[in-house]
């Protein structure tokens, strides 16, 4: 079979590059919203986290003056962890400096959510974001860990 003419190879490659560039440009806005920059693999808490505005939440409620100063505020706080393979958002509930509930509120990784379904329980048990790596789910674990840490940083009293 005859080889493809080099001229056609160059033309086809240029056409592919043009279509790819068009697709890249068309998804630029979507990417800037969904896909954080690479340096946000271990996100900066100040840059990303936000107290939850969910109903029934006591987010941001500080301890009363005169009482024992707590390390964390009571309430539910959200954090986002992300890397090049997606993002995870968690909602962490804190009461009297104790993590009482952790929920994966948004899972947008390219892996299965079932890989990390046990991690919220591990956070409750350890009372920290330092969960162990799940075998075969390193990227999801990293994102989850970052999300919980960010939520905790948001909850921390100044």
């Amino acid at each position: 079979m005859a080889k493809m003419n080099k001229k056609w190879v160059v033309l086809c490659s240029a056409a592919l590059a043009a279509v790819y560039t068009a697709g890249y440009a068309a998804t630029e806005t979507e990417a800037s919203l969904q896909q954080p920059a690479a340096q946000q693999i271990q996100p900066s808490p100040q840059a990303q986290g936000s107290p939850s505005a969910g109903s029934g939440s006591t987010a941001g409620k500080s301890t009363k003056a005169g009482s024992i100063r707590h390390t964390y505020k009571d309430g539910t706080f959200t954090g986002m962890g992300s890397n090049r393979r997606g993002s995870i958002q968690v909602a962490v509930t804190i009461k009297n400096d104790k993590i009482t509930d952790v929920e994966i509120s948004r899972f947008a990784m390219h892996y299965s959510e079932s890989d990390v379904v046990g991690l919220p329980g591990e956070v409750l048990q350890k009372q920290s974001a330092g969960v162990a790596n799940v075998s075969g789910a390193t990227y999801s674990t990293e994102a989850f860990r970052g999300a919980v840490q960010q939520a905790l940083d948001q909850a921390r009293n100044a």
Binding site: V9, Y24, S135
Partner: protein, 279 residues
């Protein structure tokens, strides 16, 4: 065959390109675990190929194809995967090469089949680290240079252009329409995965057609199915599923051809002349 001749053969080109990817990705990531996994995958794949060839009483041939399968698997599976899982995945791939066959040729691309099974059975994280998905964007030039050299050597430009043309057009439409997650698919590490896949896996000669027209259809089927799976389900398996469906199309086409020839000429294959095996 001398080493010099082998290096110039299609398998020699692929092995050289993949070995360069392995070295480059290892140096870029600054860790050697991927090389250890690659040694385990290639070693077990070669061993499995030799054993299965003997068990199935096939003609002994150098196990360079098995080594390529092992290399691809090691470059796709995350370096955080254990060497044992990587090696078992390679063995599963070689098993498919020997048992899922038609006219002594594998129906499915062995590496794609093994990697798909690996996700299902072991939940392996596939990072495509050998496609430089976590390295700076300029490194894609290295990937393209190796991929083009291989594509040229195996004469698969029509297939590769049909695949990427269809894939990029569908992603563009998805992006314009706001369906699926086209933004991710067009950016690292997913675009690196697609390039590695299209240039090194899709071009596998035994499991893809040789004729230009059939190559184009094969490329369109693989890209169309893959993009559809991605649009509907996302995840990581879309490229493999697209290729395996392309393989099924190729297998079906080969069967229909043989059936057609037999109907036209009932003596086909009986005299030993004009059989597919001699082509």
């Amino acid at each position: 065959m001398t080493l010099n001749q082998w290096i110039r053969s299609p398998k020699g080109y692929v092995t050289a390109a993949l070995s360069a990817c392995l070295l480059f990705a290892s140096l870029g990531s600054g860790e050697a675990k991927g090389i250890g996994n690659a040694i385990a995958a290639v070693g077990l794949a070669v061993l499995a190929d030799l054993v299965l060839r003997r068990l199935t009483r096939k003609k002994p041939v150098p196990p360079d194809g098995a080594a390529i399968t092992g290399l691809i698997i090691a470059l796709v599976l995350s370096t955080t995967a254990s060497w044992a899982v990587t090696a078992v995945t390679a063995v599963l791939a070689i098993g498919s090469k020997h048992f899922l066959t038609y006219k002594n040729k594998p129906v499915f691309n062995p590496a794609a089949f093994g990697l798909l099974l690996s996700i299902i059975l072991f939940g392996t994280g596939q990072s495509w680290w050998g496609a430089f998905g976590d390295l700076p964007a300029w490194t894609v030039i290295v990937l393209l240079a190796g991929g083009y050299a291989v594509t040229d050597r195996v004469n698969k430009y029509p297939q590769v252009f049909a695949f990427f043309g269809t894939y990029f057009v569908l992603l563009l439409l998805m992006g314009l329409n706001g369906t699926g997650d086209a933004a991710d698919a067009l950016r690292p590490p997913f675009i690196n995965a697609a390039l590695f896949f299209g240039l090194f896996m899709l071009t596998d000669p035994p499991t893809s057609p040789a004729k230009p027209k059939e190559q184009v259809v094969f490329g369109v089927v693989a890209a169309g199915a893959g993009a559809l799976v991605y649009a509907l389900f996302g995840g990581l398996m879309y490229l493999f599923i697209g290729l395996l469906l392309g393989n099924l199309y190729h297998w079906r086409k080969a069967r229909l051809k043989v059936t057609g020839v037999r109907k036209e000429n009932p003596s086909f294959g009986k005299t030993g002349k004009g059989t597919l095996g001699e082509r």
